[in-house]
């Protein structure tokens, strides 16, 4: 081939390809779609979808310690479940530990006190939002924290779950000095109200469950961030369990059994830190569907989940009435209101009042009146109030022979025992009048009083409230009479004031820690 022909041939190839180059569009595949994006394994939100905590629940016993000592102030309230000693012990131990720590730090030993605001019932209540309330508000609220300017321990409570046999209470303990917060911690305590288990919420997610939850949260945040590979690349086992527990400590269950976790604002992981588009809602609420949540839970957690999903109203165990419960008058400011000379038509109202306030009292009854109020006396006994012997017809026992004294006591005991099935173990001598003959003849301890309201003199409502409520001190046995309408009409004000101050209203036997020996006199 000549050179000319070769040039022509090469040129022809090049030129021939030129029109080819412009030929043809892209052939598409009908129906092709991109692979769907990974779905977040948990729902992320900045809205708390958990049910609103009830804050409080009927049937619980709220405990209050209010001590306005400038050297060591305490304002502590929490709810206990009658008949669930394990739960009550757990919460009480936390409060006592905080008080003991304050005593150790200040050198001021703790003594029971009831210095709360008598006219503010909030002092003695668990309340919705109490555990999330700004700490500065807590410290500045005199119903919650003694305004002493010195060191204080503040304890507030909130019922966060109350369904079926499960109750959860959040307990927040704040220590401060001069208004400056030293510590502020909240724990949530779950219990089977009947005592089947008691656990802090951080025990409901198993170790493996916490790791799985971390992986799911990270996966979901990576999905939201548009990560190429949303699956968590770090090994959840490399994260300390303490860290996981801290991240997942604030949670509850939805009514459908879903697990709702409120993550702390500082939640992150190294691989999330490297992504630019990780959402940072505040708060960051993670919701795990019920069926996915169950495998993350401990057996107790699964039990709680199931109970809450039932939507049943709270059930509480049967418990002895307040007057038959163990009380700790070395921790609480106890006071015993006592009523002499009844029963009367006014007595049943007092029983109703004390029952409604989950409190107890002591009635020193005259045997001659019992027969006319058998039902009332039976209620006194059955509903846990203490019945004391106040003789048959209110004589001055020091003026009687030993035999007559014995008859006054024995006859009254018999009529009471006939109704209630048990005879009184204490007596109060009419007029407070006794001598050795009387003490020897009765065979029972004489219970006097430490504070006499002189209500029989009808001093007026204000004076009576002042004497019985405002002047009351821990350990007092207070004398009143349930035969005067002028007395019984102000007893509700007295009872509520005492409770608001922080008193526990108990029977004589409870405040004395038992029954004194026969022949002794207790004056307090």
């Amino acid at each position: 081939m000549t050179r000319f022909r070769r040039i022509v041939a090469a040129s022809a190839v090049l030129l021939a390809s030129a029109p080819l180059a412009g030929c043809g569009g892209i052939q598409t595949t009908e129906g092709w779609l991109p692979r769907p994006a990974a779905v977040a394994e948990v729902a992320l939100s900045d809205t708390d979808t958990a049910p609103v905590p009830p804050g409080e629940a009927p049937g619980l016993e709220t405990r209050l310690i209010y001590r306005a000592d400038p050297a060591a102030g305490v304002g502590a309230r929490w709810a206990e479940i009658p008949g669930n000693p394990a739960f009550n012990t757990e919460l009480r131990a936390l409060v006592k530990a905080a008080i003991d720590a304050q005593a150790a730090a200040t050198g001021v030993p703790f003594v029971p006190a009831a210095d709360g605001p008598a006219d503010d019932s909030r002092s003695s209540q668990c309340a919705p939002g109490a555990t999330t309330r700004p700490v500065a508000e807590l410290l500045a609220d005199p119903a919650v924290t003694p305004q002493t300017g010195g060191p204080t321990v503040t304890v507030v409570c909130e019922i966060v779950v109350a369904s079926g046999p499960v109750l959860a209470e959040a307990l927040r303990i704040v220590t401060a000095s001069g208004g400056q917060v030293q510590s502020d911690s909240t724990t949530v305590h779950y219990t089977d109200t009947a005592g089947g288990f008691t656990a802090r919420s951080d025990g409901f997610i198993s170790d493996d469950g916490a790791r799985t939850l971390l992986a799911r949260v990270v996966q979901s945040l990576k999905v939201a961030a548009g990560a190429f590979e949303p699956r968590m690349q770090e090994d959840p086992a490399d994260f300390p369990l303490e860290q996981l527990r801290a991240w997942f400590s604030n949670y509850t269950f939805g009514p459908d059994g879903s697990l709702v976790v409120r993550l702390p604002a500082d939640f992150t992981t190294p691989e999330l830190d490297r992504l630019a588009e990780v959402p940072k809602p505040s708060p960051l609420i993670v919701t795990v569907a019920a069926d996915q949540a169950t495998p993350l839970l401990s057996p107790e957690g699964a039990q709680v989940q199931a109970a809450l999903a039932s939507g049943e109203p709270l059930t509480l165990p049967s418990a002895p009435p307040p007057g038959r419960r163990d009380v700790d008058c070395s921790l609480f400011a106890c006071v015993a209101l006592t009523f002499d000379d009844g029963p009367s038509p006014l007595t049943a109202g007092l029983i109703d009042l004390f029952n409604s306030r989950d409190s107890a009292t002591t009635f020193f009854v005259q045997g001659s009146y019992v027969g006319a109020f058998r039902d009332v006396v039976r209620r006194m006994h059955d509903e846990g109030h203490q019945i004391g012997n106040h003789t048959w017809n209110h004589p001055d026992l020091t003026r009687l022979s030993a035999g007559a004294v014995r008859e006054q006591i024995a006859r009254t005991n018999a009529v009471i025992e006939d109704i209630t099935g048990s005879a009184p173990t204490i007596f109060r001598p009419p007029y407070g009048s006794y001598n050795d003959t009387v003490l020897g003849a009765t065979g029972m301890p004489a219970i006097m009083w430490s504070r006499d309201t002189l209500d029989w003199q009808k001093p007026g409502d204000g004076a009576l409230v002042q004497r019985a409520m405002s002047n009351a001190q821990p350990g007092d046995i207070i004398l009143m009479h349930d035969i005067h309408e002028t007395t019984t009409r102000v007893v509700p004000q007295i009872v509520d004031g005492l409770l608001n101050r922080g008193f526990m209203l108990v029977t004589v036997e409870q405040i004395l820690g038992g029954t004194p020996a026969p022949g002794t006199v207790t004056k307090r």
């Binding site: 090469a10 180059a21 991109p34 992504l275 588009e277």
Partner: protein, 213 residues
Amino acid sequence: MHRRGAAIVTVILCVAVGAAAFAVPATLAQVPSSPLASDSAVTLGPVNVDGEPLYASVTLSRGWTRIGMGPFLRDDRASLVSPDGAYRALLELVRVARADDAGDAVPGDAAGELESRLASATWSTEALASGSEVRYTTLADGEDTVTVAILDPPDGVLTGSGASSPQRAHLVVVAAAPSADADGYRTVTADLISSAVFSLSHPSGTPTEDVQL
């Protein structure tokens, strides 16, 4: 007369060939191949990194189209179109001097005119299951949303790629999809990235056995 005619033809041919030699390679680079008939790999490289021939492959499913044909294509780049024709990705295997491989700069030519905007973009970094690490960002470009991803070979692929090695290599992916549907195509980019494999030998044994697109 005959010699004169031949001369004229020669001149015309020379002009035509010259024009074709200038225009045809660029035109051929825009010509789509036939769609893949089955799942296949596209291999880029080799790129010489500290004396080692580095290849990078990504796996494509049936229906993908490679843009460009003929003997003029660069073997370190590939332009790909998704089976529905809506998504385009430009892949480039780039060697850079370690001294120049810093900050948020995008190596190579693939990012082109986006470079200045990329310098101020917010970047994410992910460690992939393959062992590779990818740095990426997404920004709007006209009616498209563009994702730029820079993929590093896993540790150990380049035997001489220690901290003191003077050179490094990256696979740069510039993927564009209509902004209205961009979120849906993010998985396409993710699959490209996740399928990337780096090697010091051609995955198919010899370059001549590479998938014909």
